[in-house]
């Protein structure tokens, strides 16, 4: 195994393992900034040499400024990793699939605690990311703003007075900022109110989607809410607008849970109990089953139903049950059927002493 990947796997996933504000409903807050260098082609138009040069320039700027704790940070060359190792980076939300699928000329810098990263030569030359547990967009902004300044004082960013930061796709131009919060919304899903809520949020020009892959997928009742527009508002205005909506969603979710309990507490208790039972006693668990059950147990944790399961344990399982994490901890490639067995074993083990 790649030694850096091995070191990474030894890390607790900080955005899941640490506590954050409103962590019962908001799992994590993330901001990413898209940046490019003046006078250089965007990655999709760049030659291999040009890509390589950008990798060097950005890495040097990070090392010289000490951004991300570089040069002692993680520095991955995705093309030297196995497909499984690359998938680990995706499952830990450090890199996008598009980025990992590129044929060389890319580099991924990651701070030692995995809270910040820079994808070099994704769609844009720099995709800077900061990720923290809970709902704390402002703190994430402070962190990434500083990181961006450190890099920006050493790199000549492509910037236009009227259009702002110039990005490969005009859907990102301006602030180049995409901010998102991952929310666990089982109350709204169980009470059937998630549909109208999502529609309402969409009308405010914000995007909502399930976090595992495709748009319609809401496995685990996890949703990601993010800004769509990047131009015409300052970063603070975008974050304020997003934060207001997130605050309301959290309140709606709490409300929905309270109502569900008031109306029919046994249904909720049953849902939590069955979820726990499945995780604790099943010998084969598909990814979907595991995610949905973890969501159920997470509600139970929020309701104080378990003595010895805390939110961190549940959060960590949300990552650990993913295919690449299962296979690397097993030390070999596993078929889908084998993964289901391993996944069930992992859940049984982790939730043993509840």
């Amino acid at each position: 195994m790649d030694p850096q990947i091995e070191r990474l796997l030894g890390n607790p996933v900080s955005f899941l393992a640490d506590s954050g504000p409103d962590e019962d409903i908001a799992i994590s807050s993330r901001i990413r900034l898209a940046r490019n260098l003046a006078g250089r082609p965007f990655p999709s138009a760049a030659s291999d040499e040009a890509l390589c040069e950008v990798c060097g320039l950005v890495s040097d700027a990070a090392s010289a400024s000490g951004a991300l704790g570089c040069p002692e940070c993680f520095a991955f060359e995705p093309e030297t990793l196995t497909p499984l190792e690359r998938e680990i980076l995706f499952e830990r939300r450090l890199a996008s699939r598009d980025f990992l699928a590129r044929n060389g000329g890319t580099r991924l810098l990651v701070s030692n605690d995995e809270s910040c990263s820079i994808m070099i030569n994704e769609e844009d030359q720099l995709r800077i990311q900061a990720l923290r547990p809970g709902f704390q967009l402002e703190a994430v902004w402070e962190e990434i703003d500083k990181l961006d300044d450190e890099l920006g004082s050493r790199l000549d960013y492509a910037f236009d007075e009227r259009l702002g930061f110039l990005t490969s796709c005009p859907t990102n131009v301006g602030t180049g900022m995409r901010a998102s919060v991952m929310l666990h919304l089982p109350g709204l899903v169980l009470s059937g109110r998630i549909g109208p809520t999502i529609q309402g949020v969409n009308k405010l020009n914000l995007a909502v989607r399930g976090i595992f892959g495709e748009g319609t997928d809401n496995r685990g009742n996890l949703f990601q809410v993010s800004n769509q527009s990047t131009l015409g508002e300052s970063e603070m205005q975008i974050l304020e607008r997003l934060s207001n909506v997130i605050g309301q969603l959290i309140a709606y979710e709490k409300n929905a849970r309270e109502q569900l309990i008031a109306q029919d507490q046994f249904s909720i208790l049953d849902h939590v109990g069955r979820s726990y039972g499945l995780l604790r006693h099943a010998y084969k668990l598909s990814s979907e089953e595991a995610l949905n059950s973890l969501s159920g147990v997470r509600i139970g944790v929020d309701l104080g139903m378990f003595n010895s399961i805390d939110i961190k344990k549940v959060n960590e399982l949300f990552i650990a049950i993913n295919p690449a994490h299962l296979q690397l901890s097993a030390g070999r490639e596993l078929s889908a059927a084998e993964r289901n067995v391993c996944r069930a074993a992992l859940c049984r083990e982790k939730l043993k002493q509840a």
């Binding site: 006078g39 859907t171 131009l231």
Partner: protein
């Protein structure tokens, strides 16, 4: 109207295509359009995100008839980018991505029209890179410029209360800038609170 694919998000992209004389309509949200694009599913339908974003090619909601000859060439009167050599055709091929920063100038008419449709504004009001102008006066000038644009935007959006706040700030900035350019002698009478929040 909801997106045809996810049935959750509001559809913001409306496409009508003429297939063998039949009009086929689809309504998608931005996310699903991007996903379809990434999977290459638009290929078979003969369109991609670039065409949706920039209104290129055969796509046109208002087109009932296949006036394809004229539509096919939309945007193609624009020259190739002098820096990276990309053409409108290449932008379309790459799903709406541009080749280099200079492309924003080269394809300006096409881009500014598109920005008006999918961004909340057309002017950058956010941060500037560290390298761009520092110091008292330049910081103030930058904020003044930004606030002026902000005021334009707020009026355009008919957010008048915020516009009034913005206008007051502009007046305050003008005064501060004047002081910056012509510093008062040290014994000057104490001014009323100017606030030191001028720096961004």
């Amino acid at each position: 109207m909801l997106c045809d694919v996810c049935k959750k998000n509001e559809a913001t992209i409306h496409i009508k295509e003429v297939h063998n004389g039949k009009v086929v309509a689809s309504n998608l949200c931005g996310e699903c359009a991007r996903e379809k694009e990434a999977k290459g599913e638009f290929g078979t339908l003969g369109f991609n995100l670039a065409e949706v974003l920039f209104n290129l090619g055969k796509l046109s909601a208002s087109m009932g008839q296949a006036d394809s000859q004229q539509e096919e060439t939309r945007g193609e009167e624009l020259p190739a980018c002098p820096v990276c050599g990309w053409t409108v055709g290449k932008v379309r091929e790459s799903g709406g991505r541009l080749g280099c920063p200079e492309c924003y100038r080269t394809f300006e008419p096409m881009i500014s029209e598109a920005l008006g449709r999918f961004q909340r504004g057309t002017i950058h009001l956010g941060k500037r890179p560290k390298s761009a102008g520092q110091g008292c006066a330049s910081t103030l000038r930058f904020e003044l410029e930004r606030r002026r644009r902000e005021l334009e935007e707020l009026i355009r959006r008919e957010e008048y209360e915020e516009a009034a706040v913005c206008r007051d700030r502009i007046n305050q900035l003008k005064k501060e800038l004047e002081k910056c350019d012509h510093p008062a002698p040290p014994a000057a009478e104490p001014e009323k609170e100017t606030g030191d929040g001028s720096a961004d």
